[in-house]
Symmetry: C2
Subunit: 318 residues, 2 copies
Amino acid sequence: MHTDLVAALDIGGTKIAGALVDGHGRILLRAQRPTPALEAGESVMRAVEEVLAELTGSPLWIRATAVGIGSAGPVDASAGTVSPVNVPGWRGFPLVERVRAVTGGLPVELIGDGVAITAAEHWQGAARGHDNALCMVVSTGVGGGLVLDGRLHPGPTGNAGHIGHISVELDGDPCACGSRGCVERIASGPNIARRALANGWQPGPDGDTSAAAVAEAARTGDPVAVASFARAAQALAAGIAATATLVEIDVAVIGGGVGKAGDVLFTPLRAALKTYATLSFVQRLEIVPAQMGTDAGLVGAAAAALTRRADDAAEASV
Amino acid sequence: MHTDLVAALDIGGTKIAGALVDGHGRILLRAQRPTPALEAGESVMRAVEEVLAELTGSPLWIRATAVGIGSAGPVDASAGTVSPVNVPGWRGFPLVERVRAVTGGLPVELIGDGVAITAAEHWQGAARGHDNALCMVVSTGVGGGLVLDGRLHPGPTGNAGHIGHISVELDGDPCACGSRGCVERIASGPNIARRALANGWQPGPDGDTSAAAVAEAARTGDPVAVASFARAAQALAAGIAATATLVEIDVAVIGGGVGKAGDVLFTPLRAALKTYATLSFVQRLEIVPAQMGTDAGLVGAAAAALTRRADDAAEASV
């Protein structure tokens, strides 16, 4: 049976990935280019167009009915524009219009990358079956997205769930975003490593000063490494508890490189959550690791396009 | 024309109010009893039943089609129970079932009091016309509720929007809820007064040490009083910014006794918001005073009952 497909784009500071995805989330065709992140906006767009050309040139393309884009943020879904922090050539760049122009006028759905990952985990991963969920990526930055009442909650501009930039320390260190004491400023990989080094942690003979190396040291009991992860866990717990207290979620899914630290992160995180998630209606909240792999962004962008198409169909039938 | 009415209950630690409300939010009949807050659960229920008896005994009652309850929290809308902190005789008290028993089996909708106030502000007050809003009560405690995508977001248990108990100070003072550095622990009226007194503020000859007296002193330039309000404003700003960053809201409505302090609160609050609300999609967020008066709880409970009735009708027609 020749069922419909959607095209998906996952746009990050390192690579631009595209795929044709079926209604079960299976990737039938993929294409990829490195992101010329520091070049002019038109050069970046050319890379997107090359990826799309591989998709539209396929005999499968005729079955494509919509395009989903998950992009590094901030995005503005209401305006159809993107301004990824790490792609300076794109500021208010009209990505939706440009993608529509080369995909035959198909409907285009734009969401932030944290929202895309969330759509993927809700569709096929660790948030499956949960009506109210927070999905996070803890990595170089800290991002996230929300599922509320059984549906993705991108918010009017596609940026909802930006948990990395809520302040959990009023008088904390200044964050790159302009605020202070943000979750990301305490819990991202680079901040875990920075804090360990500042407190006297010594990297091994290979000189690796990444958060992964700090995690390795914590696993062998290095107290400074353990303490740096504990502090990150405390900030994440406060942020997750705040989210649950504000919108009622029953699961928090954690992915990204720092999430891969496993028990070094999850054990202090679950302990800290008991401190910050105190009200009766948030006490059953569970923290689980992400299940989706590197295709999460593509699968999530596809999910958003499929949901949009279903919503359009429902509206048309009313 | 004899349009339908709904019955509304507003249950707090001080009073139990009831009303019959029409589809325009007009209160046609009201009843009230003091809450025997420290008595046994059945005594509290008797006060509720007395209020309801005045409503059901009215010739208007025949037009009532649903009951809405806004109750001091926590509530559990999924179980139909309430456990108001200040009413120790009610723990997991089956209020929905008990109210249904004396109101002829009408559908009963239960929400937390912060959610009820939000429903009222969205229907008739300062959040009217806004699809994404946070409404807060800053008073003896700090409560709130959310409107998302044009609809009230009570969450599965009816407690969403509990902004008073999100931590904005990881290592802050212990809060009665068991967490640390909660918005309420810094910004509630009693905490504004406590902080001013601890830092050397002297009450006037009347000995009034309330937050209203601190506000009065701040208005005349007392630096300790000003600083105490500035700290409260900072905590509120961080909480409001966190909410906007997580779910995208375009307005925050502030009511309650502390909200009545006016510029003493709103001026530092708007200034602090610039520090904490930094991402592009939250920068347009406005802070405005509440418009609903003391009937907000009743009007909001009525709004929830009306929405529930409309949803039931829509489902029945599918």
